[in-house]
């Protein structure tokens, strides 16, 4: 089925989409029988060297609950200057600017090669990027020194107009004011008291001062946007901040023998989120948490400060012996949701030999699209290089990061969307194309992805809604449109639209076609994501059993075998590798926790849930390279993605 291979490859290259099935079963029943749901891996910002963005607004369908964007699949009446929406069949007039179109003069979005197209749109004044460093100062001297250097170095990597802020924490949380001359100021918060966003802003003096009531008093000098005090353009505070970072000292509070340092990570994050929430809602911002140990006090604490009580292990969790787990998780989830709603992402750079509470804090990154980096020390090249890579640039010399994205999915009537799995949260937008059957983050057709990079990939799951007795007519095509609105790292607002379509096929008559349209790599990853998603909330064995049953059912459906003769079992080429992937998945750290700490599991899962197909497959089934003197390294275990 070289043709399907090529088709898949071509589609991936052009649209960043890989479907589990490239022919869709025409009824709901058939679809269920296929075991692997109709689903896809979608990489919203797939790097496309050949895709210059267009500098105008997309044309939307006029129907209020559709708003689909004009795409190559639409039928266009050039003479009447009318286009028909391929999702709702609404006939829309072109806007006046399209008056000159004709068959030979088509706008880009109508050309088939532009099934993925990017628009640059004007939406208010551009807002600079915001980087808020949240730095743990309960570190060993050496670690702190290394971290300080990395941070100072990072200043040179930031765009000059980016706003930067600094929060340090240990027993207390300090929000450093960056605009001051002569004396360095910081606002200090107790590490144990949770404050509402309003309180935080009040305490930081960010509230609009009440109208001066006392006459005779000189009016307070007009503050030049109060947030400026904590978030300053890099080019203005470069020197100041470098000095400030240089003067950072380890937390001065004494740590008695047998105790952990008191670390108020929870409050520090809460303040970071509150500060951004109050000052720059719905603006691209990165909260970068650098921590060298578990939160030990206040809300979000993961372990007490007594060294004799070790941090929770999988064993403790299974025995329901992890005292702080639920509370802390709940706390960080609430925090992550707040940040995500405002389009702010949270990175966690955790460098310590012991666990640092990633299990509890992972949602901060998972829900907001932030990075998680786990290392042993800030003084390792692993951290230093990884950290630098965060600021890596693309061929346009622009950051490989996009902020505050919303991803909207539109489907034709035969399909409904069940959910997404990836670094996103639901925006609770119920539309006609939302299925009641939830898979992953569902019950919505829109998701917020606070931070995207070119490889960030979401798994999207769909459902065929046509009943068995009223299947889709032969020859029809189902279409899905992905609309990704985001803030580009150069502060432009952009909209990337990807419209894909697949043929419907009758499962009874065309089962071979469907079978050969199976993308086993994509399917393996899609199933793996479902499995890992379940593993987050269910017991490990249940997930494995579920995976096994899925595999068995698939083989039952497509395998050819003689009863009671195991040796006769055959799978077609398009499915032949799938069981192998499942085998590796079963024993991967994504599903097995043995010999991994909860933090490590969280870390692996976090990465697995956002990588593109190739990376995911490698993670499922590691590649063994063999090196020899006589040639380039060879992969010993064949995996098709690498081949």
């Amino acid at each position: 089925m070289a043709t399907f291979q090529e088709f898949i490859q071509q589609n991936e290259d052009r649209d960043g989409v890989r479907f589990s099935w490239n022919l869709w079963p025409s009824s709901r029943l058939e679809a269920t029988r296929l075991v692997v749901p109709v689903s896809c891996l979608f990489t919203p910002l797939k790097e496309r060297l050949d895709l210059p963005p267009v500098q105008y607004e997309p044309v939307l369908c006029g129907r209020a609950n559709c708003r689909a964007i004009l795409n190559p699949l639409c039928q266009v009446d050039f003479r009447a200057k009318i286009w028909a929406c391929n999702f709702c069949f609404q006939r829309n007039p072109f806007p006046p600017t399209y008056a000159g179109i004709s068959e030979v003069n088509q706008p880009a979005e109508l050309m088939p090669q532009f099934s993925t197209i990017e628009y640059i749109v004007q939406r208010g004044p551009p807002t600079p990027l915001i980087f808020l460093y949240v730095v743990d100062i309960c570190l060993e001297e050496e670690d702190l020194q290394a971290l300080k250097e990395s941070l100072q170095m990072s200043l040179s990597l930031l765009p000059p107009n980016a706003l930067v802020g600094l929060i340090t924490f240990g027993r207390m949380v300090q929000v450093h004011e960056l605009s001051c001359e002569g004396i360095s100021k910081s606002y200090v918060f107790r590490g144990t008291k949770d404050l509402s966003s309003k309180q935080i802003q009040e305490m930081l003096g960010l509230m609009k001062p009440a109208p001066a009531g006392q006459p005779g008093r000189p009016p307070a000098p007009q503050e030049v946007q109060p947030s400026c005090r904590f978030l300053q353009p890099v080019h203005k505070v470069d020197m100041n901040l470098t000095d400030l970072l240089g003067e950072l000292q380890r937390d001065p509070w004494p740590v008695p023998q047998g105790k952990r340092p008191l670390r108020s990570t929870g409050i520090a994050l809460s303040i970071a989120v509150g500060l951004l929430e109050g000052t720059f809602p719905n603006t691209g911002a990165r909260v970068m948490l650098f921590t060298g140990g578990p939160p030990t006090q206040g809300p979000g604490m993961v372990v007490g400060d007594e060294l004799k009580t070790p941090i929770r292990s999988w064993h403790d969790i299974q025995k329901d012996n992890a005292r702080h787990l639920k509370k802390a998780t709940k706390y960080y989830e609430a925090l992550a949701n707040r940040a995500a709603m405002n389009g702010h992402c949270i990175d966690i750079y955790a460098c310590a030999l012991d666990q640092t509470g990633l299990l509890e804090m992972k949602c901060c990154s998972n829900l907001t699209g932030g990075h998680i980096v786990m290392g042993d020390s800030f003084n390792t090249s692993l951290f230093k290089q990884t950290f630098q890579r965060v600021f890596s640039k693309d061929y346009n010399n622009e950051f490989r990061m996009a902020f505050g994205a919303t991803l909207e999915v539109k489907t034709t009537r035969e399909l409904k969307v069940c959910g997404a799995i990836g670094p996103c949260i639901s925006m609770n937008s119920k539309g006609p194309c939302v299925s009641e059957n939830e898979m992953g983050v569902g019950a919505t057709s829109q998701w917020k992805v606070c931070c995207l990079n070119p490889s960030a990939t979401l798994a999207m799951y769909f459902e065929v809604v046509n009943q068995h007795n009223a299947p889709v007519p032969q020859g029809g095509r189902g279409a899905i449109q992905f609309v990704t609105q985001y803030q580009h790292s150069n502060t432009q607002r952009r909209i990337r639209v990807t419209t894909v379509a697949r043929n419907w096929a009758d499962a009874q008559s065309q089962i071979q076609h469907i079978e050969s349209s199976f993308d086993q790599e994509a399917s393996a990853v899609l199933m793996a994501r479902l499995g890992v998603f379940r593993a987050e909330s269910e017991e490990g064995p249940d997930v494995l059993r579920w995976l096994d049953r899925q595999l068995i059912r698939l083989c039952q459906k497509f395998g050819q075998f003689n009863k009671d003769d195991p040796a006769s079992f055959r799978l077609s080429e398009s499915l032949s590798l799938y069981p192998q992937f499942m085998f590796h998945l079963r024993r991967s750290p994504f599903l097995q926790v043995f010999n991994n700490s909860p933090d490590e599991s969280s870390y692996y899962r976090h990465h697995f849930m956002r990588q593109d197909l190739t990376q995911s497959l490698i993670m499922i089934q590691p590649i063994l390279y063999s090196y020899s003197f006589y040639g380039p390294p060879e992969v010993r275990f064949y995996t098709p993605s690498v081949a």
Binding site: M172, Q174, E177, G182, I183, S184, K185, S186, Y187, V188, F189, R190, K193, L195, E202, M203, L204, G205, P209, A212, Q214, R217, P218, P219, A220, P221, E247, Q249, P252, W253, P254
Partner: protein, 1041 residues
């Protein structure tokens, strides 16, 4: 009785046949027979009284006028007399000094009265045994002459005259030494005080009772009805005249006045009533510059106003402990009967003048100070070593303890340890022990204390210029942080906080290039944001701190913030000290009532409508809740709070100051502060406050010998139980007044012993125990008690107890109690100690003769007088101030010093003699200086010499003086220099830098000055001295009937 006898009865006994039983004991000439009524104690001898009464009557009849003005005159004289009790040489001049002032005025009234007066004076003088000397000099009338004759024998040999008198005391005090040394302070004092039974009759009282239908008690007492009847023709006239002339007192003796016939003739002579300045001066003349050795039990020290040198010989210096009486009654019945409070005012850190020996430090090694096993009293001179020195008996609880081997020493033939003079704890009244770790918090050696400066940088403080002024002053002030004696540098660490409704902490670690500010806005739950770098050694961080102090005024220069918080500030300071594990003091410079949303938020509750109602007390009750809690926490973390207030309106001093009050801090208040005007005053206060000797984390325990115990404590203290006085800090001006009550009988032999032990951390961070021991006499005779009373200490006690009571009871009740108790004390004396006399006579014990003027002043004091004209804050402030005061301060406060300057002797170093605080003493052409320890007024008469104005103010005349001057320019002329040196001298004696007011006669600014004239009728209410005496007299008469 014997004591009473030796002083008071001699004249009596010789004069009276009825009392003749006594004469043997007293060698006083018989010629004074007719003065019987000044002496004996009726209550102890049933028979004498009658005799006394007779004699009184007879004297009355023989000399018709004794009761009247004569009484006062004699009193005045008496002062003089007692002053020169011992050395004849001084007596003459001073004695002669009085008559001119007092007699001439009397003269016009009538010849008979004058004669009487002279006779009275002579009689009294002779009564003292050594007084007679004056007799001859005083005599201006023929009547006096004969009287003067008898004295010579006595005066001729004053010593011998004294000796026989002294005779009786030995058995009691067991210290025959007294009579041998003429220069001894106490004996003469004792004599005079005994005499001091001096009858002093209220001028008004007399006439009233005389002309009236003879009060029944009086008439019954008098066995010779003709006496009273005989008086009217001679006396009614003059007195009636006085009554008429003084309509101001109608309330006092209305019936009397009504019945009094005759036209007004003359105003009552104010000189005739007991004079505080006179008493002070007499004591000064008598004891100034002398060495006061504390080797005797129960000896009465010189007055606080007298300059004397203390030599510690086994009892604590009166600077440390001063008692209301130095002779306790033996039984509680007696104590109750007389109602004289038994109290001592302890100022544990009192400054020891340069010419006295500083306290010795004793180290008993690792075991710590030696203490009685039972009562835990510390080793002191009251421990009796027995059993060859192997054991000792505790003087307090009588427990017999083993002497630890290392402390063993043989006894000499007197039973005293051979090393008694090598060991301060065996020979001195005051000394210090080095405390061991047992005495430290958590058994860890204490850290040196810290000072935290907390500056309110809200709008008003910035605008008034305070912040700038303070910051620049701190730079120099910090160079002079207090240090341990002998230490090169100060161990005190310093920290800085600024605040308005949020707090700014500063990291001033020496390693930093510039200070770091840390803002804490979470005032609801205050905490200290940093540890390292907040409290630093000034020497090490000087450049960073100076940098900070330079920047603070600019940083907040254009602040618009007008709201402040308060308790979070205190809490922050306390938490900082707690975190640093040290004691310390917060200097808070605060501007306004804390209204920002935070714990301890206050609202204006200054409701003037409450004044003079039952609810007036609520104005002074601190707001409870947070403040109460915080005070407690501060004390337990030994955090002392000094509050400098710069309010422009009501700030609820009662509440805010309550924290200072409980933590041993002080409150300073500068209303409507302007840096240019009041800056100097404030800075002087701040300097004094910062540099004064102070101890931290102090616990005081007062132990007593069996039979009585300390029951009540008044002062800037905190008590979590009934015995331990906790003070976050105690400085050299803070005094605790301790009241004692009997719980058993006291023995005259062993007397009453008091040991005050103060455990504290020194400024250098050493833990020490300061011990003050004091032994008092006990007597079963009330006369002894009255004889050794100390009016100044009494006033201190009454002031503190009344001020404490005023938050619990209506002010009216408090005032009534004061009046009643005063009357009761005096009535008890009259009943039990004084010789019988007409009820109409007001008789005051010598030691208490100026008590009424002080009590009246107390009653009129800002806190107690209910007047809507006074700011509630000022009243509350006054109340807080007095609560922590020692005797010297209360004395000055309740009887300010009024000094005339217009006739100042430029050649003399001394401050001119003070005048009585009355408007009558002022003159249009005069210039006066008045000081009360807090304020100093320069009063300029309208007709004061222009030369004076020119030389002092450099303006040509009175009219050129601007009304809002607050300082005296430094001019290079003798007058200016002299004036400034006088002011400086006065300020040097006081705990606070006094604010100078320049008052022009008839100017509006005269009001606060007039308030200080305590003998006059109060501007805001309150009686004049004269009225009050009458009132007291009436009360006494009621009590006596």
């Amino acid at each position: 009785m014997s004591q009473q006898g030796y002083v008071a009865t001699p004249p009596l006994s010789q004069a009276q046949p009825g009392v003749s039983g006594y004469p043997p004991a007293f060698g006083v000439p018989p010629s004074q027979a007719h003065f019987g009524h000044y002496g004996s104690t009726p209550q102890s001898h049933p028979s004498p009284p009658t005799a006394v009464f007779k004699s009184a009557a007879s004297s009355g009849s023989s000399m018709p006028a004794p009761p009247g003005p004569g009484q006062f005159v004699t009193n005045g004289l008496h002062n003089g007399v007692s002053a020169h009790g011992f050395p004849p040489l001084t007596s003459a001049p001073s004695g002669s000094a009085y008559p001119p002032t007092s007699y001439p005025r009397l003269a016009p009234s009538s010849a008979s009265t004058q004669q009487l007066a002279n006779q009275m004076s002579a009689m009294q003088m002779s009564g003292y045994g050594h007084g007679p000397l004056q007799g001859p000099q005083l005599t201006t009338s023929s009547v006096a002459q004969p009287i003067s004759q008898p004295p010579p024998p006595a005066s001729g040999c004053p010593l011998t005259a004294q000796a026989p008198q002294m005779g009786p005391p030995p058995p009691v005090s067991g210290q025959p030494l007294m009579s041998q040394s003429p220069q001894m302070g106490p004996p003469p004092m004792g004599v005079s005080s005994a005499m001091g039974t001096t009858a002093t009759a209220s001028p008004m009282g007399m006439p009233g009772s005389f002309s009236g239908p003879l009060p029944s008690p009086g008439s019954s007492g008098f066995q010779q009805p003709p006496g009273p009847q005989g008086f009217p023709p001679q006396q009614a006239g003059p007195y009636a005249g006085q009554m008429g002339g003084q309509p101001g007192f109608p309330g006092v003796f209305p019936p009397g006045a009504a019945q009094m016939a005759g036209p007004p003739q003359k105003k009552l002579d104010p000189d005739s009533i007991p004079s505080t300045t006179q008493v002070i001066e007499d004591d000064q003349v008598k004891r100034r510059g002398q060495v006061y050795a504390t080797n005797l039990r129960g000896q009465v020290p010189p007055l606080v106003t007298t300059d004397f040198v203390v030599q510690d010989q086994g009892n604590a210096s009166p600077r440390f402990m001063r008692c209301t009486t130095y002779s306790f009654p033996c039984t509680s019945d007696l104590a109750k009967q007389c109602q004289v409070p038994l109290a001592t005012v302890i100022k544990p850190f009192a400054v020891v003048p340069k010419n006295e020996t500083p306290l010795y430090t004793v180290d008993h090694g690792e075991a710590g100070p030696i203490r009685c096993n039972r009562c835990k009293a510390y080793m002191c001179p009251f421990m009796h070593f027995i059993d060859g020195g192997r054991r000792y008996q505790c003087g307090f609880c009588n427990c017999i303890n083993e002497v630890p081997p290392f402390y063993f020493q043989h006894l000499d033939h007197m039973g005293r340890r051979v090393d008694v003079y090598q060991r301060p704890e065996l020979s001195l009244g005051s000394y210090e022990f080095i405390a061991t770790l047992e005495y430290c918090k958590d058994k860890k050696p204490p850290n040196p204390p810290a000072f935290i400066f907390m500056i309110d940088v809200s709008y008003s403080n910035i605008k008034s210029g305070l912040v700038r002024l303070l910051c620049s002053e701190l730079k120099t002030l910090l160079e002079r942080l207090p240090r341990e004696e002998g230490a090169e540098t100060s161990a005190v660490r310093v920290g800085f906080v600024t605040y308005n409704k949020i707090l700014h902490f500063y990291n001033v670690k020496s390693a930093l290039a510039q200070p770091q500010m840390m803002v804490v806005s979470d005032v609801a739950e205050m905490f200290v944001p940093l540890l390292d770098g907040f409290l630093v050694n000034f020497q090490e961080s000087r450049s960073v701190i100076n940098n900070l102090l330079d920047q603070i005024p600019d940083m907040f220069a254009d602040t618009g913030e007008s709201e402040t918080v308060f308790t979070p500030v205190v809490q922050a300071g306390m938490e900082a000290l707690k975190a640093a594990e040290c004691s310390g003091k917060l200097f808070i410079f605060h501007s306004s009532i804390p209204t920002a949303e935070a714990p301890g938020k206050l609202k204006n509750r200054d409701d003037r409508k409450l004044i003079n109602t039952e609810k007036e007390k609520t104005l002074f009750q601190p707001v409870k809740g947070v403040y109460e809690e915080l005070s407690k926490e501060c004390v337990s973390n030994s955090c002392c709070v000094d509050l400098f207030l710069f309010p422009s309106q009501y700030t609820d001093v009662a509440t805010m100051g309550s924290i200072c009050l409980h933590t041993g801090g002080s409150v300073y208040k500068y209303s409507n502060f302007q840096a240019q005007v009041d800056g100097d005053h404030f800075l002087r206060d701040l300097r004094k406050d910062m540099e004064k000797p102070i101890g931290f984390d102090a616990t005081m325990r007062v132990r007593t010998s069996t039979g009585f115990r300390a029951t009540d404590f008044f002062g800037a203290i905190y008590m979590s139980n009934t015995t331990d006085v906790e003070m976050a800090a105690v400085d050299c001006h803070k005094a605790v007044t301790v009241e004692f009550k009997h719980d058993d009988k006291l023995s005259e032999d062993t007397g009453a012993l008091i040991q005050c032990a103060l455990l504290y951390t020194s400024i250098g961070g050493q833990r020490r125990l300061r011990i003050h021991n004091l032994s008092l006499n006990c007597s079963s005779q009330l006369a002894d008690l009255y004889k050794s009373c100390e009016t100044d200490a009494l006033v201190n006690f009454f002031a503190k107890s009344a001020y404490r009571e005023m938050v619990n009871q209506p002010l009216k009740t408090v005032r009534e109690i004061l009046v009643r108790q005063t009357a009761h004390m005096l009535a008890c004396y009259r009943k039990n100690c004084a010789s019988p006399s007409a009820v109409s006579q007001l008789i005051l014990p010598d030691t208490m003769k100026v008590l009424p003027v002080y009590m009246n002043s107390l009653l009129k004091s800002a806190a107690l007088v209910g007047s809507a004209d006074l700011s509630t804050d000022d009243r509350a402030h006054h109340r807080l101030l007095v609560t922590g005061m020692g005797v010297e301060e209360t004395q000055a406060l309740f009887y300010p010093r009024l000094v005339p300057l217009h006739n100042i002797d430029m050649s003399s170093e001394a401050v001119p003699a003070a005048l009585r605080c009355s408007e009558e003493r002022l003159s249009d052409a005069g210039v006066f200086l008045l000081e009360n320890g807090f304020q100093i007024f320069l009063w300029l008469g309208q007709a004061c010499p222009p030369e004076f104005i020119q030389s002092v103010f450099n303006v040509p005349s009175f009219a050129h003086l601007s009304p809002d001057m607050t300082s005296i320019p430094e001019l290079d002329n003798a007058m200016s220099k002299k004036l400034r040196s006088v002011i400086e001298h006065m300020s040097g004696q006081r705990s606070q830098a006094m604010k100078l007011f320049i008052v022009k006669q008839k100017d509006r600014s005269e009001v606060p000055f007039r308030q200080q004239l305590v003998e006059d009728k109060g501007l805001h209410g309150g009686a004049s001295y004269m009225d009050f005496l009458c009132c007291i007299h009436r009360e006494i008469r009621q009590l006596l009937t």
